[in-house]
Each structure stands twice: as C-alpha cells, then as structure tokens.
Symmetry: C2
Subunit: 494 residues, 2 copies
C-alpha cells in the first residue's frame, strides 16, 4: 500500500463521528467509549448507532448509519468482530471516510480470525475507508479534543505524539503523561495493523506541525523498508523514541499471542534502530523520562557534563552513572575554578563534581550553578539536591528544646529556595542554551517530582535516570550532526 492511499485526517480531525454499537450498559465498551468522547469534550458532532435503542440516557440513538442526519467522517465500531463486515459495508456505501474497529477476535486468534480480518480490509479498501485496528483501544486527538479510547483517560494536550502496538501500554502512557505533566497531541493504538501500520503513523506525526517528539511502542514491524525510509526522514525533524517489546525469546512468544506480530530478531532491530538514530527506551518509565527531556530542555552539543552535588557520596554515584552511560565529566576551566574558590569554603572538592559539602548557604549554590553552566568546557549540567523538597526542621516542631520562631523563619526561607531553584534553572537554560537536569535526593521523592513537573523543569528522583537520558539526548544530537555533516549542511541548532 502506498502512503498516498492512507488518509489519517478523518481519523485525527473528524468533524463528526458515529459509534456503531452504542450501548446503555455502563459495563460495555459501547457505553464507555462514547462516554469518553462526550466527557472528553469532543468538538465535533457525535451520533450513537444501535437498532436496540431509541435513546441512551438523554441522547438519541439511530438504528443504523444510513439514518444519520449527515455522513460522518469517522465510525467507531464497538460491536463484536463477526458483525463488523456487514456494518462496515454499510458505512462504505454512505461514504464514511474512516473506521476504528475496537473488537479483538481477528488475526491474533488464528486462521478463522485472519480470514475475517482480510474480509474487513477488503471492504475498507473497496470503499477507500481508512481502517484503524482491529483489536485496538482507540485514538486520541488534541486538536479536536477527541478521546475515542477504551479506558477513561483524559490526556493533557501537548507536543508528544504516540503510536502503540499495545493498548494498555499506550493508553497508560497518556495517563502517566497526565500525572507527569507531559502533554500529547496525537495518539493511536494500532492494534492488529490490518491496514494502517506503525510506520504510517510515524510518517503522519512527522508531518504534523504540532508534534515535537514521537513515541512508539513496537512489538514488530510489518513493512521494514517503509519503516526505515520514514524514520530516516522524520528523525531529522524530531526525535523518535522507541520501546521495543519482544526483545527476548520469551517476550517474542508473548507478542505472538498478543497482536499476532512476529517480533523478529532483536539484534537486527537494535542495529537498524542505531543506524537510523532512533532513541531506544528500555522501559515505559524511560520512555516518559525521554519524552520529558526532549520537550523541556535543548539538546546537549557535546558529552561533557558538569555536576553540582549536595553530598560527596552522590558525587561518586553520579560520576559512575555518567561514565557508564557514555558521558564524560567536564574538566572545569581555570576561570571557573577561580570563581568557585572565591565562592566556596576552602575544603570544597576543587573539581568536577562540585560538592557543596552540606553547605547551607543556598544563594551560593545558585551562583555555583551559573558558573558551571557558563563554563565553555561544559555541555550539560546535572544538579543533585538543588531542589530539596525538605522541611529541614520539621522533626523539631513542637519540641521544646527549640526556639519556635527560628524554626518558622528558617523553614519558610528554605521552602522559598526551592521555588527560586526552579526558576533559576529555567532562566539559565534560556540564557545559555544548555540542558540542566535536576535530581532531587529527598525521600519525599514523589512530592518533589510533582513540583518539578508542574514547573516543567526537567527533573528526576534518580541520578541514574538523569545520566541515561542525557546520554541518549547526546547520541541523538550526534546522529543529526553526522547526517548533516555528511550532506555538507551548515551545523545549526537541530
């Protein structure tokens, strides 16, 4: 199938939608999906279709797609697999442009299912209907506020688009995005990919001006040649972050019973991904980490890291993590060393990592940070413990060994410093164009993570994750640089 044959506009920008198989039973997908579309705030017109009902709650229900007051752009099928061919044929006859088939029971369950799927594809082709799925959890589109999804997820709108060969993993990424302040623009569970495949979505996202970062959960690729061509083109404009399921014999076996795809030889995938400059995520958590990174900070233009740490042991661990991830510790310039000598107590570490040695003068920490970021030898900064999230004297409240006023003053000052740290980080990124990654060391990790995410500061609760993300960003930068230098382009900001 040529690309030109696939039109995803009616899927992601439908003016009207029909749910074929709408139900009055809240335990049925025929109820939950339209409920998601309505309560998700879809900006177009929605019609419910089922000959069994005149109304579902307050909404009119139509007996079939012919009886609708207009020809809808998109039909969402919530009927069992065996009913799909006939109803899709009807959609084709009235001129529906796209269909999402939710039901499973197709190629993933054996030969009979395969035949049924082929029948559905043939109908779709005959009527030029763009077919999503079958066996899919649906799609999301921020521009028309469309949550045509099985689980009741309400994503935040943003710059990330995703294609997922797993419904649970995909829709969970939307939910994690909501909790972590990562917004999505377009999203699809590709299901069995009977017609529209992983590589088609990537191509579409590549052309979408509102998509800055592409995520893909992939178990297997059906058209390797197209995948390679598309990724090679798109990746120059935006990073493509791939989590590959079915990397092992056991995983590949599980994938066969999941979406019926052949997971293939992981060594080949790894080699292809590497050659194409794909950013490889090792887990759903890392995929989210990377989505944050690529949307929140500029790319590092080298692999020399400057580190500021509140505690020597953490300085050791982050040095290990950086080197293990393929980064190098920057050699601080003479100017930087002199400036730090003037600023810090004489027993400071006199090198990178800069250990603030438990010094409670947090104004000095902010100055250190700027000195480090502007050092010409430093391409990126990891700041450990700068955001403490800590009420240092909390343990002493209502304890009469303590002057109460002091505690109050100190605590509010300390809290205020966290807010200052967050805006300082954003200001310095703006000013110097280098990435800064914060790592909070506090045990109240999830609390501080929320604060950092709220402010869209790139921050993690794990120093290993910070180092991994930075190394992967640098690899992507290097891939772009090599590609451009091969072509003789002038190197600008990618």
């Amino acid at each position: 199938m040529h690309n030109m044959e696939i039109d995803l506009d009616p899927v992601f920008y439908p003016k009207s939608i029909a749910v074929i198989g709408a139900s009055a039973n809240p335990m049925k997908w025929g109820w939950i999906i339209p409920a998601n579309i309505i309560s998700g705030g879809y900006t177009g017109r929605l019609y419910l279709v089922n000959p069994k009902y005149d109304k579902i709650t307050k909404l009119k229900c139509y007996p079939n797609v012919r009886s609708l007051p207009e020809t809808v752009d998109l039909a969402v099928f919530t009927v069992p697999s065996r009913s799909v061919p006939e109803l899709l044929e009807e959609c084709g006859e009235v001129g529906v442009k796209a269909a999402i088939v939710i039901a499973g029971g197709f190629s993933e369950v054996g030969n009979e299912g395969k035949r049924l799927e082929q029948k559905v594809v043939n109908i779709a082709r005959r009527y030029n209907i763009t077919l999503i799925g079958p066996n899919t959890m649906g799609i999301y589109s921020a521009p028309v506020s469309l949550c045509a999804l099985m689980p009741p997820v309400r994503p935040i709108k943003g710059e990330v688009s995703m294609i997922s060969q797993s419904g649970n993993i995909g829709t969970n990424m939307l939910a994690f995005g909501r909790v972590n302040n990562v917004g999505f623009n377009l999203f699809a569970c590709s299901g069995n990919e009977a017609m529209v495949r992983c590589e088609d979505y990537i191509e579409y996202f590549g052309q979408d001006p509102n998509t800055k970062v592409i995520l893909a959960y992939i178990e297997g690729i059906r058209n390797g040649r197209k995948f390679m061509r598309v990724v090679d083109e798109v990746i120059e404009k935006k990073p493509i972050i791939v989590l590959k399921g079915g990397r092992t014999r056991s995983g590949a076996k599980a994938a066969r019973s999941h979406t019926g795809v052949l997971a293939g030889e992981m060594k080949i995938y790894e080699a292809v991904f590497k050659q194409l400059g794909v950013v490889i995520a090792r887990s759903t958590d890392e995929m989210l980490d990377l989505a944050k990174a690529f949307t929140r900070v500029p790319l590092p233009k080298g692999n020399k890291v400057g580190i500021i740490t509140w505690g020597g042991g953490y300085g050791v661990l982050i040095s290990d993590a950086c080197e293990e991830a393929g980064l190098e510790l920057a050699e601080l310039s003479e100017e930087t060393l002199e400036e730090l000598n003037r600023l810090l107590p004489p027993y400071w570490s006199h090198g990178n990592p800069i250990d603030m040695v438990g010094d409670m003068n947090r104004e000095a920490h902010f100055k250190c940070l700027e000195i480090l970021v502007r050092d010409k030898n430093v391409d990126a900064v990891i700041a450990l413990g700068l955001i403490t999230g800590m009420d240092f004297f909390e343990a002493f409240r209502n304890f009469d060994f303590v002057p109460g006023e002091f505690i109050e003053v100190f605590s509010s000052m300390w809290k205020n410093y966290d807010r200052i740290a967050l805006s300082k980080i954003k200001e310095l990124i703006q000013k110097y164009g280098k990435p800064i990654i914060a790592v909070t060391l506090t045990a109240e990790a999830s609390k501080v993570q929320s604060v950092m995410d709220e402010e869209k500061v790139l921050g993690y609760t794990s120093l290993e994750r910070a180092a991994t993300v930075l190394a992967k960003m640098y690899k992507y930068y290097e891939h772009l640089r090599r590609k451009k230098s091969v072509r003789g382009d002038r190197l600008g900001s990618p």
Copy 2:
C-alpha cells in the same frame, strides 16, 4: 586489628551519652545532633558539654566530661577537628568507652589531616575507646531509640541494618525507609574508618539477632582479607546487599576527594562480590527495592516465574524483563491449564503469561493467582495490574450521560478489590511459601506504592524492577544452596 579489640556495644547500646561541643545555635551541628537525640526519644541519659554555656534552653550544660555526674558510655564530638585530640584524651582518662567524631578535616583533606587522624586513633587505642569516624554523619540504634545523626531523620524500627561510607547516602536510606515502610535496626556512617571499618560493622550486624538484612554503601574496602572472611560467614545467615560507589574511573576519582579511600578496580570487586554471594545493587533505589524484597517475601527456590497480567503488551515487556534478568518463564502444568480453561474466557492466552485480557471480573483474577502460585512448576509469581489503585469511572463523575448510582456502587466495589488483592497476596505467600511480587501499572504510581508498602506487600511500580529483584533473590538462594551442598548439609529453608 583483631575483631575482639573492637567493641561496638557502647556505640549501639549506650546507657549514657555526652555531646562534646553542644551549642545554643540551631544552625550548628552541636545543636542539631543533641536535638535529634532528644526528640528521637533516646532511652538513656544525655549530657551536654561546653564550657561556654551553663544551660542550653532548659538543659544543664557541663564545662567538661570530668564534671558529668557519671562516666558516659559514648561521647559524640561536635567540635572542630583540631580540638578533638585533647578532648578525646580527657574522655579516655575518665573511662568513656566509645566516641563518634563528626567533624571532617582529617585524612580526606591531605597529609596534615592524616597526621591529625593518626593522633586521634593513637589516643583512642591507648584508652581502648571505640572510635567511629571521623568525618561521619553518625549512627542510629533502634533498641535504644538513638538518632545520633546530623540530619533530622527519624527512621522506622525494623530488621534492616546498614553501614554507609557516605553520610548523605546512608542517612537518606533511613529517610527513604521511613517513606517506604522499611524499618532499620542498626545504622552507621563509617566516615573515614580510622578505626572501625565497614567489615567490622558487617561482622557486628551478622551477630545481631534483630538484623535480618544488611545493606552496605561501599566506596573502598581497607582490609580485603577480613571483609572476605566476614562476608563469607555472615552471608549464610542473612543477605548482604552492597551498592559500590567508584565503579568507574570518574567515580573512583570523586571517591578519593570524598572519603580518601581507594575505590580500586571494579572488576576485582565484582568478582569477589560474586564469589561471596553478595547481592549487588546498582542504585540507591535498587538497594531499597532489595531491602523490601528480602524482608517481605520468602526466597524463590528456583528461577521459574509465573506471570499474571492485565494487558498483553505488559505480558510481553515482563517476559523480556524476566529473561533479560536471567529468569525463565514457567511452563504451566496440565492441571493449571485445565483449571484456567474452566475459569477464563475462551480467548485467554493459554499459557504463561496469563493475560486477563481486560476482563473486569476481579474475583476470577484472585482465583487465577492462586492456581498459578500452587502450580508445582512455578517458583515465584509476578502479578501485573492486580492492584489497580484506579477509580475506573472517576472521569465520569458529575457527567449526566451516566447513571450516578451505578458509578458509586462500581467504584466502591473496585476499591474494595484492591484491599482484597493485598490480603490475598499475603495469604498466598503464607500458604505456599513462594514469593509473589505485585506490580501496579497505574499512573497514580506513588499513591499505590504507598498502599502496598503500608501493607508490607512486595510491590513495585516498574516491572523491570520486579524482575531484577526476583533474579537477585534467586541468585542469593542458589549461592546458599551451593555452599550447603558443597558441605553436604541437608537442604532446608535458608
């Protein structure tokens, strides 16, 4: 130094303590440390010592250690390094049994510091004082509720003991333990280890009847021979989980300026750790994961994992994670397959992982879990998505497409299932003696993590972490089995 020369009882079980260098300034350690000891609820007698004060708040302050009403077991020094020798000499003369020297400025800062440290050690040896540090953040002892620590951490009491060559990492582990419901019994920051070393603490924790699991953050080992002997002995009784800092060239360099220790060649450490059966943690997070695992579930007696999952994509990823960690997916027995055929819809995965395919009948999930746990081919179970932490219909509240009563009933039922899942897991562990690890897949990860920790269910928010932990537990079990079989012991429960 022979083991018999080091007596750690006065450090961890002191009947009385003097803080030498107590202060009235809440920004000084001389104030914070006694405040921690008092508000931490120390069960013994505490004396403040400083000739500058008669009183600090309501407490009497003594001019020197001679003027105290009794000979204290332990002196905590919060004076600058240069004052330590003279004051320690005084302690020696009156018969103080142990001293913790908080100040830095000793061997970690160069030759002059090294000489000062040697002088302090000589005094301690002359008077038979057990010397902790210098350059330490202190110790914690649950049996006497002693928080002789720099940061205001209040650990939960429990079965884990820890030695840390980093104050920040060590005391942070206590704080993380508090948030994650991991309790500690004994804890020490070993600092520069001028006298008492990492291996001495491990030996002591090995003999401590209330310690079930030992954690160690290690940058370098000063007495390799003793370390190997001690670990080899202790590890038969309890697991020793080690996080090694200074694994790389950069990390080792940072370690030199941190505690002055030589981090050494990581390949040698890895080989020694492996030979001794040490459980290697790769991060502080993993150290905590492992501490939970070893205190909450029995050891797996084989590497065959049974998996139950709510979603096929996650089944693929957990299969990959298990195989990559060195585990194998169990081949389900005929009986199990038959039982599951009777229980699950016909399109279930018919093998391991058991994909519950979005089935909302959660009673059936619990039955699946028990069928899986009791299968003779299954050594351990990972349950994905069994605890949802999810209010499935939350998105539909106050939305008039929805029958309100239904939502209420469904939501409370759904919530109740999470509680049932938690007790079911604990019940099945008890009944079958096999480890069960829960992995929540919800985006409200930190919320569900708290609930699982509160109930002391072994649960994670990352399936990769679950697989890694299980694989490391199995390796430890195998080490014990091999050791016993070499000696010809009958194999029992380790």
